[in-house]
Amino acid sequence: MLADALSLWARLAGAQIRSQMQYRASFAIQSAVMFGVMVSDLAPVWILSRFFGSLDGWSFAELALLYGMVETSWASVETVLRGFENFSVYLIQGDLDRILLRPRSVILQVATRDFDARKLSRIAQGLLVLAIACFALGLDARALGWVALGVAGGTLCFAGIVMAGAALQFWTLGQAQELQNVLTYGGAAAMTYPVSIYAKWFRRVLTYGVPLAFVNYFPALAALDRTEAAGVPGFVPWLSPLVCAAVLALGMAAFARGLRRYESTGS
């Protein structure tokens, strides 16, 4: 069953890759540009850390670790579930009807609809930053385990968020694309920095509201042995996989709910 779904995912994604290869030069340039995004994302962090020394006790290498974790998990979700980001378009243009006319899972079909191979280079860049940061910080196996746990959980968490964002389109008739982007791109941008620097209410939002703190901040604290210094109870990082799985479950439930609404209202 799962193997069946995965093979269909791969086939549909493959079709998108072949479509994009029709415009080869542009494809190559854009892949290179995607890789360059890393430079523009990390440049401000580097410039500021170089100038000010550290951010609330976090060195540039440590900030890069945070960035690498969030970037890898978000880029993975963008690769695997790309269609959910463009969902408002499918809703407005009626592509969703065509999806419903096929005897396969709606989630699977939406996920692959705009698969973008260029996002693979963003995963690569995230992993590269992560590898360099881990090396520079001399992380041991236990710490690396925390990093891996954070990235895996982050993938679930972003998947849940992007699905919830798509679900939002059912109620706003596809006019809330930008709000969905705030949750995902904005969330990822916010998580490039340690949560501790934000004002209390903002911290609360990132911990209890859209719990992105569990994606990289808490696991990174555990990896760096900083939980105590940051005033975070030792068990909190352990909650990461649980919280992230819950976000995914909520996102899927919201999407299913929205889909039922669509089927009963047709709009």
Partner: protein, 267 residues
């Protein structure tokens, strides 16, 4: 160039096109405010380590970022790409442009100014005011501030020129999507969108001062935040003016060659 009237018409249409999507503008305000919150808090956190660095107070830094986020859509570096020249060439719509006695470059410039005016009315005030209220930073009222409108006008012109040049390869390859994404990320770093150029290491600052990108954002933003006076102010405005001239000349040269190519290749 002929009569100015058709270009005024293009500017008006561009203004109306944006004005038609009011809900989109408010979600856009939400997006700007979110990034404003994140980046302003990051800057404040960095400043906690070294208050008063380089003569910048934390307030000035927050003010800088507030202005940068509020002006982002006005100067149009991130403007939605659907109506750009490259897209018109790709879809063949450019044929209708060619049938009119209109210089495409001036048309693009006119549309940029129309769009800029809309965002200056609908986007700049709410975003800027939110920053001012949330962080309690009052913009300094100085004589130099009177030059801010001029600087914005020049910034929009430089931005239009950069877009036109980035689109140019569409004349020869039918697509410029790679170049356009490259423009956006280079402008993010070298335009001083997240971090004031003052904090850049000398070599990077020298590069940023030489290239046109700072004219789109850094110059007007620093001016509004009261961080540009004396020689720096004169240099900033001169830099904008020189690059506006250079990019216009380059754009017009590209246009005459590109049109010849379209005419012989049939688009």
């Amino acid at each position: 160039m002929g009569s100015v009237r058709p270009y005024l018409q293009f500017a008006r249409l561009a203004f109306q096109r944006r004005a038609a999507y009011r809900l989109a503008n408010w979600t856009g305000v939400a997006v700007n405010v979110f990034f404003l919150l994140v980046h302003a808090q990051v800057l404040l956190a960095f400043f906690r380590a070294r208050p008063g660095a380089l003569g910048w107070s934390p307030r000035e830094a927050v003010l800088y970022f507030t202005a940068s986020e509020a002006l982002l859509m006005v100067v149009g570096i991130f403007t939605d790409v659907r109506y750009n020249l490259a897209e018109r060439i790709r879809t063949g719509e450019v044929v209708t442009d060619l049938a009119r006695p209109v210089t495409l470059y001036y048309r693009d410039v006119a549309e940029r100014y129309g769009t800029a005016l809309y965002y200056l009315i609908a986007r700049f005030p709410p975003v800027y005011l939110t920053g001012v209220v949330l962080f309690g930073v009052v913009p300094p009222l100085r004589l130099e501030t009177l030059l801010f409108p001029l600087s914005v006008v020049l910034a929009v012109g430089v931005s239009a020129g950069l877009w036109y040049v980035a689109c140019a390869s569409a004349y020869f390859r039918n697509t410029a999507s790679g170049e356009l994404s490259a423009l956006v990320f280079v402008n993010t770093v070298l335009g001083g969108m997240v971090v004031p150029l003052d904090f850049y290491p000398d070599w990077l600052r020298a590069i940023a001062d030489a290239l046109p990108f700072r004219a789109t954002l850094y110059t007007p933003v620093a001016l509004l935040s009261g961080k540009l006076s004396g020689h720096a102010l004169v240099f900033g405005l001169a830099h904008q003016l020189v690059w506006l001239g250079a990019l216009s000349a380059l754009s017009l040269a590209i246009e005459s060659r590109g049109l010849r190519r379209l005419a012989t290749q049939g688009g």
